[in-house]
């Protein structure tokens, strides 16, 4: 058994409609590019970027977008902490992660650009298109800041070109604060030779509820941006596109979870708001009712899961969606769902922890908690999608597994999947995805409510309404008939049957496939949203001759079989994770007391192989360059060279050097 219907990268044909030659302009051929748009919050950089991403996907490029989220709802303008925006990585082939440093940045003011430099998002030579209205501000401190910044940027090696965004927009609108983003979209359309008609359609869709006047204005701004760029920039990029044979869809991971829930036949999403999980329910709130479902916003996380369990018990398997702090509140009910065998899907969109932690940032630090939080160690299934496509398909799988094993299935995604946007093959709806209608035929008299198959532990469950199926569900120790019983045999048997279900499911699984060769020096093991970055780094390293491979786990409880055998093919195995681990370089830390990254710890117990780990809690998605450095360091060490251990990759001067970036 393999979860979901995730597919191979789409094959396709190169697009014959290449952009017309523009003989007066320099043509810069590229294979891929990383573009960022950064602005103050509220200036619409994200909307422009999402449109640009979707447009690019429509034209046949690989795309991955990541939002740049400010810490505050309404941060002060022109502040580093307030940088709001988006990164769009484009490629002629499939793109699976945010990549490393940006090739091009469009910045609405110089302060938000500082923030990107501090975050290590830029490199020497990054082309920056910078709004220049600040140079002539009537506030002297702004003019001074501008001058200082221009010098800083030059020293840092950025290729800054000033762009009169405001001035140009003012020709069309009194309020460029609201329109600038579409002008920028136009500019990018020229630079990457995007199909203007498609762009115009895009604008019509975005503003469809705002009326013709708004649409017209934005169309004008778009075209103005294009024209200005063609006249003033003197070059364009030539990025080959490749139209997919298959129809594609493009969305973020939370939308994919929501759509997957709809496709799975579940009819109830019961939740309590929490970042970054809530947008699953925002999306569903718009469409679910028409599709026969309902979103219940409960009074708290406990009520949310209790409500979902009530639905499930009554035959309508439901799901709840949350993030770390909310997960902590659901544990008692998850334990009940295992003990009393109620199917249930729990989606956990991981954010930075512990505690309230980093609400908007990505981490993979809830694995141990998802697995072990419930007192009494109740066995359950945990899935972790690695791509946005899998976010869709795993929801269907999760519902099916929940019903099959009569228990909870936890789906672990994270903030990177939640807000990242990527095209993937449009799912072909299958009627069997939908849950069957509630069984209301009479229950066979005499068959107990937990008629455990002695081999598998599986059993069919009576649904209220079924004649003769009456039983009283309980979280106390109980026998087959759901009667409370405290004798040793009954409790041992119950624990055993519930555990066996997971083992029976495990026995249907195949070994996961190694990316790269099946043997070599180093094996990187990952899970969740980091797959794209890890595999890209592995591919790059392999091209340079490194004997490195990677393995990505999608089922974290029970583990897929054959891990120990796979590990045996490599000199060293290490996980790459977004959670905390002690560094051996730190005081007091020894191999004997080190706290390992979470998957590494589990794999050690499981395989007894000395699985090492590289993990960071820096709050942003993993980037291939950082992993590549880890690979090279490890290989150097394996080959007897000193090799350094990196904590973070440091592209461009980071904000730490005050002389450069005061």
């Amino acid at each position: 058994m393999k979860p979901g219907g995730a597919t191979e990268p789409p094959s396709g044909t190169a697009n014959p409609d290449r952009a017309p030659d523009l003989p007066d302009l320099e043509r810069i051929p590229i294979e891929e590019h990383i573009v960022e748009i950064v602005s103050d919050s509220g200036e619409g950089a994200q909307k422009a970027g999402q449109s640009f991403g979707t447009l690019s996907a429509k034209m046949g490029n690989g795309v991955w977008t990541v939002e740049i989220i400010p810490a505050e709802i309404q941060p002060p303008q022109r502040s580093r902490a307030g940088a709001s925006g988006i990164r769009i990585r484009l490629g002629s082939g499939k793109v699976t992660n945010m990549g490393d440093t940006a090739d091009l940045v469009v910045a609405f003011n110089e302060q938000v650009l500082y923030s990107r430099i501090e975050q290590g998002a830029l490199r020497q030579g990054t082309l920056v298109l910078l709004e220049n209205k600040w140079a002539t501000s009537n506030m002297p401190e702004i003019r001074e800041a501008w001058v200082r910044a221009r010098a800083d940027f030059e020293r840092a090696g950025l290729d800054v070109r000033e762009v009169p965004m405001e001035t140009e927009c003012l020709k069309l609108t009194d309020n460029p604060f609201r329109g600038k983003n579409m002008w920028v979209l136009g500019l990018l359309c020229h630079l990457y030779q995007r199909d203007l008609e498609k762009a115009e359609d895009q604008i019509r869709t975005i503003f469809r509820r705002k009326g013709d006047q708004v649409i017209d204005l934005n169309l004008k701004l778009l075209r103005a941006g294009t024209t200005w760029a063609r006249t003033h920039l003197g070059f364009y990029y030539d990025l080959p596109t490749r139209m997919s044979d298959q129809p594609l869809v493009v969305m973020n991971g939370n939308e994919a979870v929501g759509l997957g829930a709809m496709a799975s036949g579940m009819e109830v999403c019961s939740m309590y708001p929490i970042t970054p999980a809530t947008s699953v329910s925002h999306y569903l709130s718009e469409v679910f009712r028409d599709a026969g479902g309902v979103v219940h916003q409960a009074e708290d996380e406990i009520a949310a899961i209790g409500f979902a369990i009530g639905c499930s018990y009554a035959g309508k398997t439901a799901f709840t969606v949350t993030s770390g702090p909310g997960l902590a509140l659901k544990d008692e009910f998850i334990g009940l769902a295992v003990m009393a065998e109620v199917p249930l899907v729990v989606v956990v969109v991981q954010r930075g922890g512990p505690s309230t932690g980093l609400p908007t940032k990505v981490e993979q630090s809830d694995l141990l908690s998802a697995l072990y939080a419930q007192p009494g160690d109740p066995p359950k299934i945990i899935l972790a999608p690695a791509t946005i496509e899998e976010c869709f398909h795993f929801m269907i799988t999760a519902r099916q597994l929940a019903e099959l094993t009569r228990g909870p299935v936890i789906v672990l995604t994270d903030a990177n999947l939640a807000t990242g946007v990527q095209p993937y093959p449009r799912p072909q709806f299958k009627r069997e995805w939908l849950a069957p209608p509630i069984d209301q035929s009479p229950w066979k008299p005499g068959v107990p409510a937990y008629d455990w198959d002695p081999e598998t532990g599986f059993s069919q469950r009576p649904i209220p309404g079924q004649k003769d199926g009456m039983y009283v569900l309980t979280g106390l120790a109980h026998d087959e008939g759901s009667h409370v019983a405290y004798d040793p045999e009954t409790h041992e048997r119950g624990c055993n049957r519930r555990s066996r279900k997971v083992a029976a499911f495990q026995s249907t699984l195949k070994s996961p496939k190694v990316h790269g060769e099946g043997a070599g020096d180093l094996l990187l093991v990952g899970w969740g949203s980091t797959m794209g970055a890890i595999e890209e780094a592995v591919d790059k390293a392999r091209k340079r001759g490194a004997r490195v491979s990677s393995l990505h786990l999608r089922i974290l409880s029970p583990f897929e079989p054959g891990l120990r055998e796979i590990f045996g093919g490599f000199k060293k195995v290490m996980t790459i994770e977004l959670n905390y681990s002690d560094s051996l370089a730190d005081p007091y830390i020894t191999p004997g007391n080190r706290r390992y990254a979470q998957l590494a710890w589990l794999l050690r117990a499981k395989t007894l192989v000395d699985v090492d780990c590289f993990s960071v809690v820096h709050g942003h998605p993993l980037q291939p360059a950082m992993i590549l450095e880890v690979i090279e360091g490890e290989l150097a060490r394996l080959h007897g060279q000193p090799g350094r251990r990196l904590e973070t990759a440091a592209p461009l001067a980071t904000g730490k050097d005050p002389s450069c970036l005061a």
Partner: protein, 317 residues
């Protein structure tokens, strides 16, 4: 299950459920525990209403009273301490065909379950909700409950509890969208039956506080109430819970109380000189969340497919 109907007309097509059809495991409460009486009355209600046992669900938390579902022969959900109501709401949400009853203790409902108590009142989903208020934690052996009156000697307050007991009624009545609030006592089966009947017929969330005796941990607590009928105030109204005259006569202390008058209900609920029994408040017209929740339960698969495709089109590149 096929029994003789009380009017002695035999109808072999339609099953007739008798008391035994609702009787589950033998009740294991202490002798003299008020819960026994409630169980018998609820079983009678089910019989009188001829509720198909398979269409009936009893949901509870954890506590002595929460063992109730085991003693019924219907579907049951004996869940977590304090969490009966979210589960019941979930069951109700997509299953308007089921009869949902909820059983909670005072700790269950008014302490750990407070948030759900308040919010499920607000949701106003059709179900009969019984608070078994014995003013003590029974199952865990006699700790103070929020509803324990001040000075109660308990295992957590051996020299007497400090705070005045929480009266659950004014809070219940204070929740926006409340629709049915009644009170009865475990030792008056006729009144309890009439109250349950009214609750069952109520189109919404019908909340009944049952003053319940716990001879084991709160011995003699209601002695005065039992001994002196004047300590009970019988709320009387044609829109309220009406009793056969011979029962009503027991209560010399009567008050006309119009259950549509929320402020009057609150006034009665706050009285400490007497214990009012009867219907405090009812409003049949309040918004029901279960009606909203179940509106689209019959969406055909074709429509689901169509919607999914429409959405995929929206996301198509």
């Amino acid at each position: 299950m096929f029994g003789l109907m009380p009017n002695c007309r035999l109808d072999l097509k339609k099953p007739y459920y008798c008391m035994a059809d609702y009787q589950g495991a033998e009740a294991r409460w202490c002798p003299g525990c008020g819960d026994h009486a409630v169980l018998a009355t609820v079983q009678r209600l089910c019989r009188d209403k001829q509720l198909p046992p398979e269409k009936t669900v009893f949901v509870s938390g954890i506590g002595c009273s929460s063992r109730f579902p085991h003693y019924m022969r219907t579907y049951g959900f004996h869940g977590l301490h304090g969490r009966a109501l979210p589960v019941a709401a979930g069951i109700r949400m997509r299953r308007p065909d089921l009869h949902v009853f909820v059983v909670m203790g005072d700790g269950d409902c008014c302490s750990i379950g407070t948030a759900h108590w308040v919010h499920t009142i607000r949701y106003n989903m059709k179900m009969v909700v019984m608070l078994f208020d014995n003013e003590i934690y029974g199952l865990t052996k006699g700790q103070t409950s929020p509803t324990s009156r001040a000075g109660t000697r308990s295992s957590t307050h051996p020299s007497g509890s400090v705070l005045p007991g929480l009266n659950p009624l004014p809070i219940t009545l204070g929740v926006t969208n409340v629709s049915f609030v009644a009170q009865t006592v475990d030792w008056n089966p006729a009144h309890m039956m009439a109250t349950l009947d009214a609750a069952y017929e109520h189109p919404g969330f019908a909340f009944i506080r049952i003053i319940q005796r716990c001879p084991h941990f709160a011995k003699g607590l209601h002695e005065e109430l039992l001994a002196n009928p004047d300590r009970t105030l019988y709320l009387d109204h044609k829109q309220g819970i009406t009793l056969p005259d011979e029962v009503a006569r027991m209560y010399k202390n009567r008050a006309r109380h119009d259950p549509s008058d929320l402020i009057a209900a609150l006034t009665h609920a706050m009285r400490t000189d007497v214990i009012p029994i009867g219907l405090f408040f009812q409003d049949r017209s309040r918004t029901r969340y279960d009606v909203y929740g179940a509106a689209n339960i019959n969406t055909p698969p074709e429509r689901k497919e169509a919607m999914l495709n429409r959405e995929l089109d929206r996301f198509a590149v």
